[in-house]
Subunit: 341 residues, 2 copies
């Protein structure tokens, strides 16, 4: 409020340097279009006044903000952190600033954040997953703000995406599980409603079962929030079943860590009595005991590719090309053959 009342403007710099505002503006935006001596004078004035361009004015005049927005479901989780850090670094190198906000897994909140970022002049948006109301995409189109979906790869979708196929990635892991001999499979999934990544992972398990001649309907499925405690609760619940599942496949490493922790509390040995798998291969997966057999997602690579593609879109160099990132299985010790009972 009343801020910048005293902040120096282009005008102040111009007066100080004895030139016009146009010249000052040029010094800042296309230094080569102004002669060396005047430029030095101007830069000195800029320095001594501590001038910082007013961003709002700049956006309004140029209709360009060099800002990219990203809306992630949560910051309370390492899943997105690493990819996003790389995304930001790459954007910086290309002259863009990243602004992040979190939707707390709430679609309405996400819609609001998207509107906020667009109104704020974001040149492009990074969104997580495809699943959202169509009106949002209409809105983005209307405002001609390019958007790129990440953490998901769905070439047949309208929106370009950078990521991997959750179905295939989890399917491969499920094949490994089934190949190890497991038949009674349980899964602790994240909430699938409005979350195409979670849906894809469930689908991947089911397809793998069907392919191996198992009845996908026999999959015991629990949906819960992506929190350690929730994973623990769900695991405890699964262990009351009779017959018990021989393997618990988790929607991500966080849930799996919770499951492992609960197993230890219950005195159930992993993987001797029950196997557990994860997804993401965050650091956590490596340090829990036993180490988590999981799907490795190259988050950094995804962040890098997303930055490349989205800036290309913003600059009109691409109409939106989907990029597929390869995941790979990461075998550790939490998966073994089922107990021979």
């Amino acid at each position: 409020m009343g801020k910048n009342r005293s902040a120096p403007t282009l005008n102040d710099v111009a007066r100080e340097a004895g030139v016009s505002t146009a010249t000052v503006s040029r010094c800042l935006n296309s230094p080569d279009r102004v002669i060396e001596t005047t430029r030095q004078r101007v830069m000195q004035a800029v320095e001594s006044l501590g001038y910082t361009p007013n961003f709002a004015a700049r956006v309004m005049a140029a209709n360009r903000s060099y800002t990219i927005g990203a809306i992630i479901p949560t910051m309370d989780n390492a899943i997105f952190a690493r990819g996003l850090q790389e995304f930001q670094d790459q954007l910086r190198q290309r002259g863009y600033t990243l602004l992040v906000s979190s939707s707390a897994y709430d679609p309405e909140m996400e819609r609001e954040q998207i509107r906020t970022l667009v109104a704020r002049g974001a040149d492009g948006l990074l969104l997580i997953g495809h699943a959202r109301d169509a009106s949002i995409y209409t809105f983005l189109e209307q405002h001609q703000v390019p958007s790129l979906v990440a953490w998901s790869y769905t070439p047949e979708a309208q929106q370009p995406s950078v990521g991997f196929s959750n179905i295939e990635a989890m399917g491969e892991l499920a094949q490994l599980v089934i190949g190890a001999g497991h038949r009674r499979i349980a899964m602790i999934s994240g909430q699938t409603s409005g979350n195409d990544r979670a849906q894809g992972r469930v689908e991947g398990v089911k397809r793998a079962m069907a392919q191996s001649g198992l009845d996908a309907a026999t999959l015991t499925l629990i949906e819960t929030d992506y929190e350690i405690e929730k994973g623990a609760d769900a695991f405890a619940q699964l262990m009351t079943l009779s017959p018990r599942p021989t393997v618990v496949m988790c929607g991500n490493d966080v849930l799996a860590a919770g499951a492992l922790s609960e197993a230890r509390r219950l005195g159930i040995k992993v993987p001797e009595q029950v196997s557990v798998t994860g997804f993401d291969d965050i650091e956590l997966a490596e340090i829990v005991s036993p180490g988590l057999t999981t799907v490795h997602v190259p988050h950094r690579e995804m962040g890098r590719e997303a930055a490349r593609e989205l800036t290309a879109m913003v600059e009109g160099k691409s109409a939106g090309q989907s990029v597929c990132i390869k995941t790979r299985l990461m075998a550790r010790h939490s998966l073994a053959e089922p107990p021979c009972q």
Copy 2:
């Protein structure tokens, strides 16, 4: 670029509704200052055109953005996530939007991000820790942007802060450690350069030692990045010492988790052969084995208080009041008496 070329403006809405732009503006900002019937007409036009106020223009005209910026050292880490999520929720309730960016623990980058956020019209800024170049505070003052320091409480500092005393918090834990009988104390600290939280934690250990009649100079100290692997490396290094330390106090839970993991790899039993402690009490601390004895930091409370105080400052209702958050010891199983050798 060329964005919003087709986006509807106040003018379009005004024309559609058959009123002036002033009336449309009022409908949006002070609905009670306009008669019911016209308001309905206007809102209908807003709806049908899919109008979204242009933020840059609004900021420029009102000199107020209802935006708060936060610059955190990293997103690649759960430490800040929880407090920040609560901070954002509280801000939302008060009508503000939070924009986050990460400095990757780089002072120059932090400076740049601060300038960016200020130029962008942020009404206030949340910064982590006190340690930064004085010129930054000068800059903020010049632009009359209130700033609040979090994750640190230093009432004697110029800047108001919301947080806890890292010195005292770690000091209490160190007293617990010493009280358990430990004399050969090692510490794996985060990089202390430019990081007053890390410095405070080291200082806390040293003071506790001195108070207990131990020579603080005997503290074996390793500084490293806040990463799991770095914690593991540092722990391995400490275990080569002779005589070995009987306890390894870590600068945060992430480092401690790395230490624990390395101990298991080396076949060193915790806490029987060596004790380990952490700091922060993130979820990780609970699920590693053995559970981490650590300092519990009420991140949510900190986020809440920070939001309250910063908005008060922005609205001119407070000149900047520091708030002290109480941490508490969280005893689990990674700390025990030293082995009686």
